[in-house]
């Protein structure tokens, strides 16, 4: 039996974020690396340098719109004390305790911390988007409409916007393709895939292993039966395995080439 972790809306938002992020990474870095042979080949996939730019602008706008919709959905879910409750994604003191316990566990001192519904790295993954996406959106819009932006901000702020956009993109891509993919797919307890975000739930055994405090809390509140679901069908699993591994493969391909061809980029 599976225990439900993510609603359909959560999964749809994540899917939208995944697709837009991958397209933005591909189009953006194909343009940044246009002076390299790899960048040129990647641009060909999108119909050339100019077309890659058009796609990048449109998908960026969609990504920004999705983020705004998500924030609005979030605001509708705010209900008093639940903001800081055990099911909340807002960091609290126990997260810092868990970080310390995890650190000790790395070196064989003590056991791994017993986590509640959201682990500290999952909270970081969530809130990091709230830093990166608005920064990329604002700087991206400034670069999309430079003449209009220079009427509000001084023209040299476009230099700053370009630098921030490039730097934040590199940070986001490096974090997602190295850290997030490892935690989601490649670490031994998740391998071959953490299916939670695709199927909506994880097996009860895995939940007991990694999030024991959460399962115990549900049992205590008598809500465990309410969140139990049936495991996903085979065809659905095949689809999201292929999709997930395609995204993983593409991300690793992008990351490796970004590192290898970085010295051939002609810009400062």
């Amino acid at each position: 039996m599976n225990i439900k972790r993510f609603s359909v809306v959560d999964r749809l938002f994540h899917l939208g974020l995944m697709l837009t992020f991958l397209i933005q990474a591909a189009t953006g870095f194909s343009r940044l690396y246009i002076t390299t042979t790899w960048g040129k080949k990647l641009c060909y996939l999108f119909g050339g340098y100019e077309n890659a730019g058009v796609i990048h602008h449109w998908v960026g706008s969609i990504m920004t719109a999705l983020f705004v919709v998500h924030v609005l959905c979030l605001l509708t879910k705010i209900k008093g004390k639940r903001i800081f409750g055990p099911d909340s994604l807002i960091p609290n003191l126990s997260d810092f305790c868990n970080i310390w316990k995890k650190f000790l566990w790395f070196f064989g001192i003590g056991s791994t911390p017993e986590l509640d519904r959201w682990a500290y790295w999952e909270k970081f993954d969530y809130w990091a988007v709230f830093w990166g996406l608005p920064l990329l959106a604002v700087t991206g819009l400034m670069l999309m409409y430079p003449i209009a932006s220079s009427r509000i901000m001084p023209g040299w702020s476009l230099n700053i916007a370009a630098l921030l956009h490039k730097a934040e993109a590199i940070l986001a891509v490096a974090y997602i393709f190295i850290v997030h993919f490892f935690i989601g797919h490649l670490r031994p307890s998740s391998f071959p895939m953490n299916e939670g975000m695709f199927s909506g739930g994880v097996s009860l055994e895995d939940a007991m292993e990694e999030k024991p405090v959460w399962v115990k809390r549900l049992k205590k509140e008598g809500n465990l039966e309410l969140v139990m679901t049936s495991p996903p069908t085979l065809w659905f699993r095949v689809i999201y395995f292929i999709f997930g591994y395609a995204a993983l493969g593409f991300g690793i391909y992008l990351m490796v080439n970004l590192i290898v061809y970085s010295r051939y980029v002609s810009l400062h």
Binding site: S111, W121, S150, W156, I160, L163, A167, E209
Partner: protein, 234 residues
């Protein structure tokens, strides 16, 4: 004529030549209306400045420095363009005035750093398309199309319709963001760059080792053992 008399005549002639040259120099200087501190040290009016200033002329006190900067060439003829040790070229009608073999050189021979910007690399613009034909006036020369008072209209608007003076304050040839040149000429860029470097290194420096250690520990931990308290074993 005796030898002594000959020597005396030579000395008189040399002295006369020296005196004449001194007078001539003074006359020449005064004829131009220049303010002259001495016949050896000329000081040209700012309005007719060639832009070449000697080292001692930009010091607070007009005296030769006691300790000279090693490696800085002090020419035999200190007023020639090639020997001037300080050049302020931003107000010249021809910014490349006095440069040797200029006609046979390409822009990037001297301005290689200025080719590494978006306009050159991505838009494939040539230098001439913005800087115009010869003579290329200095950027702050009053009649230069590159002068900030008119740059947006004469240069930027050729491609960016509707550009304003603010738009033209975008730094086309921005310095390498992490360099000391950026710290002096574009400090906001410099500090932004280093902030982002710290953020990137800090974030990845924490989470990559974290992920690695998680993976390593999980590899050597059987399922179900991870949460076992050490005390339970006793």
């Amino acid at each position: 004529m005796t030898g002594m008399k000959r020597c005396k005549n030579i000395v008189i002639v040399c002295g006369a030549i020296l005196l004449l040259s001194l007078i001539f120099t003074l006359e020449f200087a005064s004829a131009q209306g220049e303010e002259v501190a001495s016949p050896l040290r000329r000081y040209k009016e700012y309005e007719v400045s060639t832009g070449y200033y000697e080292e001692y002329e930009v010091l607070p006190r007009r005296e030769r420095p006691m300790v000279e900067i090693p490696g800085v060439r002090q020419g035999l003829f200190p007023y020639s363009p090639s020997a001037a040790t300080v050049r302020i070229r931003t107000r010249l009608a021809d910014s490349h005035q006095g440069i040797k073999f200029y006609d046979n050189r390409r822009c990037e021979d001297c301005h290689i750093e200025q080719t590494r910007d978006i306009h050159t690399v991505r838009a494939n613009l040539t230098c001439r398309q913005c800087h115009g034909g010869e003579p290329i006036a200095s950027i702050n020369h009053y009649f230069s199309p590159m002068n900030p008072i008119r740059r947006h209209a004469y240069v930027c608007a050729k491609c960016h319709e509707g550009s304003s003076a603010s738009f033209a304050s975008y730094v086309i040839h921005e310095p390498s963001p992490g360099s000391m040149a950026a710290k002096t000429s574009f400090p906001v860029l410099y500090y932004t760059y280093w902030f982002m470097v710290v953020l990137l290194v800090g974030t990845l420096g924490v989470f990559i080792p974290h992920s690695f250690l998680v993976g390593l520990r999980e590899l050597f931990t059987k399922k179900g053992e991870a949460t076992k308290d050490a005390d339970d074993e006793h």
